[in-house]
């Protein structure tokens, strides 16, 4: 059926983001030399504006082009998450980007378009839109990872990322093609119906495996996680933050859409596999993080471990599971952005990522130390912070039939406290080698305060957020 203009209103958020992206790109070219700082301001204001728009039309459920593009509360929630994380990343990285040199003009543009890619992924109704969103996000991230191209590190990260991403998208495509071949459908909910009705053919198993691999790469589940520590360490810190936050969140939105949306029919097949993958991810993520001495690499492994915790929500494929994932991703975003902004700003000021150079940070700048500590402990799941509630939701879904996974998850999250506290130890106990206080620029300070307040607020009173997410998770299942 032809595309009717009336339903255009449903995708206003996407259109606005695309417009913002292109506008920033153009501005970058037109604006005179010094005007470049304005770009960041424009981007942040734009993103915040769009978030407002997204929040305002929260309830508008509907699907475009007969199911090709689903705009339901579920997708709306994810879009708000992406916009918030994008805004925070841009806000936190203003000074960082200045010394990226001349490429700074296109940085904000591509970043916004990456956010657009995520949004498309979140509300994609069929395989093609899903794939296009995924590729838009990946390509823009590849480019962002390689900035500044004069420095060998990011470029090395870039080459690794593009080749591995290309290979994984090929694998993902192969899986999609097999499923398309079996069911003759590419719309997610039709595929669900076809899979539920038809019997389980070996090709379907193969297809599911390839999907697991392709998407596992994106959310850095263990056997497919090898790329993320190198890319996280190589890439510039704000981009690493956005990668760890945006790309992972979008991939989880996709994973839910595909596994719980399209393949519930063969749930009992992939449930145990996902459980085992999640357990292995948690164990490897936490254990390898222990000996790390570079803060970005440590945060990379801890974010792999967080991916493991989030995968726990997938195992039972119930509404509670989806709710657990969305809740945990939302609070994970604030914790990760907080931690990476501190790392980025510290790198900006002192030029080092080594944990031992963080000595005496609490005396040099109490806010940075506090934010780093709070974010890390929230990831570890220490009570007053958001992580605890998130883990409670997640593990309560699987306790009845996958008890061993609950054990692995909780014990490993307590082991993770070990390497988080080692960083806290360095920050709080040691004397700084140069005691000059680190002055925070206002945008970075704002980001840090926002993340700190958000983590504490969600931890202490998770009530309101869990209501919102309930409605979002519920809308996922009605179609």
């Amino acid at each position: 059926m032809p595309f009717d203009a009336s339903s255009l209103s449903l995708i206003t958020v996407e259109i606005l983001t695309a417009a913002l992206g292109l506008a920033v790109l153009v501005l970058g070219v037109i604006a005179p030399g010094r005007g470049r700082y304005g770009l960041a301001g424009v981007t942040v204001l734009g993103l915040i504006g769009i978030t407002g728009v997204a929040i305002s039309n929260w309830g508008a459920n509907g699907s475009l082009i007969s199911g090709m593009y689903l705009v339901d509360n579920y997708a709306a929630f994810w879009k708000i998450t992406f916009l918030v994380s994008a805004a925070l990343v841009v806000l936190g990285s203003m000074r960082y980007v200045d010394n990226l040199g001349s490429t700074q003009k296109e940085y904000y543009g591509i970043l916004t378009l990456a956010t657009l890619g995520m949004m498309v992924m979140a509300s994609a109704g069929d395989f093609i839109t899903l794939y296009m969103g995924l590729e838009l996000m990946t390509i823009s991230f590849v480019i962002l990872v390689c900035l500044p191209s004069t420095n060998p590190r990011p470029v090395e990260a870039g080459i690794k990322y593009i080749l591995l991403a290309g290979m994984s998208s090929a694998v993902l495509l192969y899986g999609l093609s097999l499923i398309y071949g079996l069911t003759g459908e590419i719309k997610i909910y039709e595929v669900a119906r076809a899979v539920a009705s038809g019997d389980v053919s070996p090709a379907l198993i193969l297809g599911t495996v390839l999907l697991v691999a392709g998407l596992g790469f994106k959310i850095s589940a263990v056997p497919f996680h090898m790329w993320s520590p190198d890319v996280y360490e190589g890439a510039p810190t704000p981009i690493t933050a956005f990668l760890a936050v945006g790309s992972k969140a979008a991939s989880f939105a996709l994973v839910i859409r595909i596994f719980i949306g399209a393949l519930p029919g063969i749930w009992q097949h992939w449930a145990l596999v996902v459980a085992i993958l999640s357990a292995v991810t948690i164990i490897v993520g936490n254990l390898v993080a222990i000996p790390q001495d570079n803060i970005k690499r440590l945060l990379a492994y801890s974010s792999i471990a967080q991916a493991g915790y989030i995968m726990v929500g997938l195992v039972t494929a119930t509404e509670a599971g989806v709710k657990g994932i969305m809740f945990y991703v939302f609070l994970y975003i604030f914790a990760t952005v907080g931690a990476f902004t501190v790392a980025g700003y510290f790198y900006n000021k002192t030029g080092s990522d080594k944990i031992k150079d963080y000595a005496g940070l609490s005396q040099r700048s109490p806010l940075m130390a506090a934010v780093m500590l709070v974010s890390m402990l929230s990831m570890a799941g220490i009570p007053p912070l958001a992580g605890f509630v998130g883990k409670f939701y997640l593990f309560s879904t699987i306790v009845s039939d996958y008890l061993w996974l609950a054990f692995v998850g909780l014990i490993m999250s307590m082991v993770s406290v070990y390497y988080y506290l080692r960083v806290a130890l360095v920050m709080y106990r040691d004397e700084p080698n140069d005691p000059s206080p680190i002055k925070l620029t206002s945008p970075v300070a704002i980001t840090l305060i926002v993340t700190l307040v958000a983590t504490l607020f969600i931890g202490i009173s998770p009530g309101p957020l869990s209501e919102v997410i309930n409605s979002a998770a519920h809308s996922f299942f009605i179609q």
Binding site: F388, F407, V417, R429
Partner: protein
């Protein structure tokens, strides 16, 4: 009382901590007095409610309840009953004295007192909360301040303070990890049984009783592991001696005095009440582990040369009594357990504060090179002696009657084990007196002549805790009537489930 007294008690220290944020770093005296004021307010209010808690009605009083997380059924449920009120009183007493015990902290006092106040609030929260989620919230919030305090202000003697702090933290967290799994499983099963999710103790107890025998057993095992590691039950005790030796005085006071009791309190109020059949199944094991703890740690304490290690091991030994008392699952046993927790708390706090002062003055805790301080610092010696005598359970001090009650309780149920337990009092006498005699009596050493005795604010722990020690010993009914009013209804709840044998 309409006035929400419990939240005020809970938040007074936090308010003081917030005020401290704005006081400049150099004002040492002002910082300490604000901190003292904070704890004094909550101590005073606790005493007020302690004396007008009417015991014949019993049950939960001074209740403040507000919905918190609807879909998990979590309500902010603060209340106090016969068992939790003494514990709250204990927390405030020790908290108040801990402030004064660390009166001459010199480096970064502001951060120290902020963390200390947060620690006190966290510990108090666990005793007030009657909602499992809030209990867990407070149960784990305490761990990080302790780590930071041990790492910055600790002292590394046999093991570095980083090792001690890390071991303390990770050990307790892994214990609480197991507990968390147990709690989540219980919660999920209770939703099945009750219909609506409800996290309050009473609802979970009602649901827990209806669980199958097998479920109750493995759930109780998890909780036993979690609470056991906190109350330093035998195989999981290795964190407590190192932890206390590494920690600064105030932290070891609060940790030995109160934090361990959360384990015991949790064991009674949560594990035993909610999973009576599990408790019945594991009771013999707990008894054996408890007694192993008593004998093992008593001998361990005997072999120590460092004062803090002696008290560390002795607290493990005393907690062994509590565990076996809980294992009796009868009124007298439970009464004895709660009372012993209170008594040991007071004793351990006094002992640690005295050792703290001793360490500040002589800069050593190594018994062989101490001696004859009785003459040079008489008040400190009196306090030290009082604590040593209390630790060996001298009648007339608060520790005797609870221990006697425990002996009566366990003697009837576990005869053989009880004899070993009671033999423990001999070993306890040996190491307590050895600690006391070696430091206080004997020829005075010239190098300690310049020491001036404890005076002014440093006297507060001795006076306050000493007073409670003696009054509690001479008039035990003050403590026991309150605890009895808490234990009797609790025991009635358990026994009718045990009689029914639970529905398999």
């Amino acid at each position: 009382m309409s006035f929400p007294v419990l939240p005020v008690i809970l938040l007074a220290p936090v308010a003081a901590a917030v005020v401290l944020l704005f006081i400049p770093k150099e004002e040492h005296r002002l910082i300490k007095s604000v901190a003292a004021l904070g704890t004094f307010v909550s101590l005073f209010l606790t005493l007020v409610i302690y004396f007008n808690y009417n015991q014949d009605v019993g049950g939960l009083q001074f209740v403040t309840q507000r919905d918190w997380i609807k879909d998990l059924g979590v309500t902010l449920f603060f209340a106090v009953d016969g068992i939790s009120l003494p514990m709250v009183l204990l927390t405030n007493l020790i908290g108040f004295c801990a402030i004064f015990a660390s009166w001459n902290i010199s480096n970064r006092p502001r951060e120290f007192f902020i963390l200390l106040l947060i620690l006190i609030t966290g510990v108090m929260g666990t005793f007030i909360a009657h909602d499992l989620f809030i209990f867990l919230l407070f149960y784990e919030v305490v761990v990080i301040p302790i780590y930071i305090m041990v790492v910055i202000w600790g002292s590394s003697k046999r093991v570095t303070k980083e090792y001690a702090g890390m071991k303390l933290t990770i050990y307790l967290l892994i214990g609480s990890g197991f507990l968390l799994v147990g709690v989540i499983a219980l919660f999920v099963k209770s939703v099945g049984v009750l219909g609506a999710p409800d996290m309050s103790f009473s609802a979970l107890a009602e649901a827990g009783a209806q669980l199958s025998n097998f479920d109750q057993i493995w759930l109780f095992a998890l909780m036993l592991f979690g609470f056991g590691s906190l109350i330093s039950m035998w195989p999981f005790h290795s964190w407590s001696p190192d932890g206390y030796a590494g920690a600064p005085t105030a932290v070891s006071m609060i940790h030995a005095g109160v934090l361990k009791k959360i384990g015991g309190y949790g064991l009674i109020k949560i594990a035993v009440v909610m999973l009576p059949l599990g408790a019945q199944f594991w009771a013999p094991w707990m008894a054996v582990l408890g007694i192993a703890g008593v004998a093992y740690a008593a001998f361990g304490a005997l072999a120590q040369k460092d004062l803090k290690y002696v008290v560390g091991y002795s607290s493990v030994s005393h907690m062994g009594y509590v565990i076996i008392a809980v294992a009796c699952l009868d009124v007298i046993g439970l009464n004895g357990a709660v009372a012993n927790m209170f008594a040991h708390g007071i004793m351990a706090a006094l002992f640690f504060s005295m050792i703290g002062f001793l360490y500040e003055k002589t800069h050593t805790r190594w018994m062989p090179d101490m001696g004859g301080l009785g003459r040079q610092t008489p008040k400190l010696a009196a306090g030290f002696m009082l604590a040593a005598l209390a630790s060996l359970g001298l009648p007339g001090l608060v520790t005797f009657v609870p221990e006697f009650t425990i002996f009566v309780g366990i003697f009837s149920k576990y005869g053989g084990l009880a004899v070993i337990g009671i033999a423990g009092i001999i070993i306890t006498a040996l190491y307590a007196l050895r600690a006391g005699a070696h430091t206080l009596f004997g020829p005075p050493r010239p190098e300690y002549d310049h020491l001036e005795d404890i005076k002014g604010p440093e006297l507060v722990p001795l006076v306050v805790l000493g007073f409670v020690l003696v009054v509690g010993g001479v008039l035990p009914s003050l403590l026991f009537d309150m605890i009895n009013s808490g234990v009797v209804p609790l025991h009635a709840e358990i026994s009718n489930v045990l009689q029914l044998g639970g529905n398999l």
